[in-house]
Amino acid sequence: MTDPVLEVRGLTKRFGALVVSDGIDLTLKRGEIHAVIGPNGAGKSTLIAQICGGLAPDAGTIRLKGRDVTALPTRTRARMGLARTFQISALAMEDTALQNALLGALGAAGTPWRFFGPALSDPALRKVAETALDRVGLSDKAGHRTAELSHGERRQLEVAVALTLRPAAFIMDEPMAGLGSEGGARMTALLDRLRHEAPILLVEHDMDAVFALADRISVLAGGRVIASGPPDAIRTDTAVREAYLGDEA
C-alpha cells in the first residue's frame, strides 16, 4: 500500500477551556472514502477547518501527499489538490454556474493575473469548467445564475467546482444535507464514482449514505476519535452506541 494522500497526526485545538480537537489521528488513502461521523458538537467542522487551512491547530501535523502543510495557507493547500466542498454552499450567487466552475479552473491553472481577454472565451479554462459541470450533470444549467439554481443543484455545483481543481483529495462537508431521497441517491452515485479519481474525506450526517459509501468510518465525539474501522465494525461498536444513544444504550 502506498503512503496516505492525507495524514493527520495528533491534531489538537482548544478554545479556552473547551478542547474541540483532542489528539486526532486520521488518514485518507488512495481510492477510498473515509467517512467522519459524530454527534453535533463533536468537532467535525473544526476538524475540516484545520485540514483545509481556515483554522490553525494548537498542536499536531497535517500532511498532504507527504508534505507537511500545517503552516500553509488555504490557497496553497488548494493548489496542491485539496478540494473542499462547503456545508452551506459558498458560491458566487450573482454569477452563473459556469462562472463558478471557471473560477475553480482558473485557480487550478494558476493564471488569475490576466486583465484583458474575457474569461468566458478562454478555451482551456472553459473546457475544464464545462467538463466538470457535465460530470455532475449540470451542463444544461451552465448559463443560469447560481441564485436561480435549486438547493440540490448548488450542492452539485459545489462538487463541480471541487472537480475543476485536479483534486488529490476531496474534503466534503455534508454534501447530502438538505437533498431529497432522489437527489441523495444521485449524489451517492456521484461520490461512488469520484473515489477512484481522488479519495474522499466525507463528513456526513446521512447514515444511509455513509454506510453505503464508506470504506472506513471514524467516529468523532468530544473532539476525539473514539472508534475507527470498516462500516461493519463501527455498526456494532459499543463506544459508538454510547456516544450516539447515551449511556443507557
Partner: protein, 327 residues
C-alpha cells in the same frame, strides 16, 4: 439589444452631441460644464472598480483625486516659476506637458493606493470605511499645513497645460481629450470586469472563502483592483485641476470622497455606465438647482435618501430596468 445598452448609447451620444452643439453655437460655459461632468465620471469609474466590482467601500478616494490634482499643481507651479523641482545629484524640472503630468498623477496615486490598500485591506466592513475616511483626512490636513504649495489657499496655474498637437485652451479640444480618457477608462473597466482577474475579484466580493479554497489570492486581487482604481481617480484629479487651473486641499476633503461615491449611486451601482449617468445628473442638478436655490444640497440629500431607501438601481435602473447578468 438590451435596454441598458440603449441607455448607455444615448448617454454617450449626448456627451458627444451637447458639447458639439455648444461649440457651434458659441456656448463655452456649457462645454465647461460637460467637461466637469466627464471628469467626475472618470473619477467615479475609478472608484466603481473598487466599490462595484471589488466590494471595497472606499470613503477615501478623494486622496487620489487630490494627489492627481497636486501632481498637476506642483509640476506646473515649478514650470511656470522656472524653479527646479529637485536640484541635487541631478536636475528635475517641472513641466507643462499633460502627458507627463498624467503619468506622474497615475503613478503617485497608484503608489498611495498601494500603501493605503495594504493597511486598509487588513480590515473589512465598517473598519475599512472608517480607515479610508481617516486616511483621506490625513492627506487633507497635510495639504493644509504644507505652506510651500499654498497650504489652505491652494495653488493657481496661469495657463492650462499643453498637449502635443492640440490647443488645450480651446474648451472643445480640452473636452475631447477628457472624453477620450473617459472612454478609455470605461473600455478598460469593461475588459477587466470580464477578464480572469475580474472573475476572481467578483468572487472575492461575494464569497471570499471560496476564492481561497480554489487556490486563489482574493485579498491580493482586491489590492490590485484598489491600486488601478486609485490610479484612474488620480488621473481624473489631474484633469480636474487643469480644468480649473487651480488645486486646493478641498480636493482631498471627505465631501469630495462622498461626492464621488454619490455619482455611482445616483447612476446605479454595478453598472458600467452608472458613474457616467450619475456624474452627468449631479453636474446638471448642481447647475440647474444651484441657480434656483442656494441650498440645493437639501434636495440632493433627499434624492440620495430616496435612491438608497427605495431602490438601488439609480438613474440607469429607472430607465433600463433590472440589472442582467452579462452573458
Amino acid at each position: 439589444m438590451s435596454r441598458e445598452w440603449i441607455v448607455n448609447a444615448a448617454l454617450i451620444a449626448g456627451l458627444i452631441a451637447v458639447p458639439l452643439w455648444a461649440h457651434l453655437s458659441g456656448e463655452p460655459f456649457t462645454i465647461t460644464l460637460a467637461t466637469r461632468a466627464v471628469i467626475f465620471a472618470l473619477a467615479a469609474v475609478g472608484l466603481n472598480l473598487a466599490l462595484g466590482l471589488g466590494g471595497m467601500v472606499s470613503f477615501g478616494h478623494a486622496v487620489f483625486f487630490g494627489l492627481g490634482g497636486y501632481s498637476m499643481g506642483i509640476l506646473a507651479h515649478h514650470a511656470q516659476n522656472f524653479l527646479p523641482l529637485y536640484d541635487g545629484l541631478f536636475l528635475i524640472e517641472g513641466t507643462k506637458s499633460m502627458p507627463v503630468i498624467w503619468l506622474v498623477a497615475i503613478l503617485v496615486s497608484a503608489l498611495a493606493a498601494l500603501l493605503i490598500g495594504l493597511l486598509s485591506l487588513r480590515t473589512s466592513g465598517v473598519y475599512f470605511i472608517m480607515i479610508t475616511l481617516a486616511f483621506g483626512q490625513m492627506f487633507y490636513y497635510f495639504a493644509i499645513s504644507w505652506r510651500a504649495y499654498g497650504g489652505e489657499d491652494g495653488l493657481s496655474i496661469w495657463v492650462r497645460n499643453g498637449f502635443p498637437g492640440l490647443n488645450t485652451l480651446d474648451p472643445i479640444q480640452f473636452y475631447c481629450l477628457c472624453f477620450a480618457l473617459l472612454c478609455a477608462a470605461l473600455w478598460l473597466s469593461a475588459r477587466i470586469a470580464r477578464s480572469p482577474f475580474g472573475l476572481v475579484l467578483n468572487a472575492a466580493r461575494q464569497v471570499p472563502a471560496r476564492v481561497e479554497t480554489v487556490g486563489l489570492d482574493g485579498q491580493r486581487a482586491k489590492l490590485v483592483a484598489f491600486v488601478i482604481s486609485g490610479a484612474i481617480t488620480g488621473l481624473a484629479g489631474a484633469l480636474f485641476a487643469d480644468l480649473n487651473r487651480f488645486v486646493s486641499p478641498t480636493m482631498f476633503s471627505w465631501h469630495m470622497s462622498g461626492e464621488i461615491m454619490i455619482f455611482i449611486i445616483l447612476g446605479g451601482v454595478a453598472r458600467l455606465f452608472g458613474p457616467v449617468a450619475g456624474a452627468v445628473l449631479f453636474v446638471a442638478m448642481e447647475h440647474v438647482l444651484g441657480d434656483l436655490w442656494d441650498h440645493w444640497h437639501i434636495l440632493l440629500g433627499g434624492l440620495l435618501l430616496v435612491i438608497v431607501l427605495f431602490g438601488r438601481g439609480g438613474v440607469i435602473g429607472l430607465l433600463a430596468g433590472k440589472a442582467q447578468s452579462h452573458d
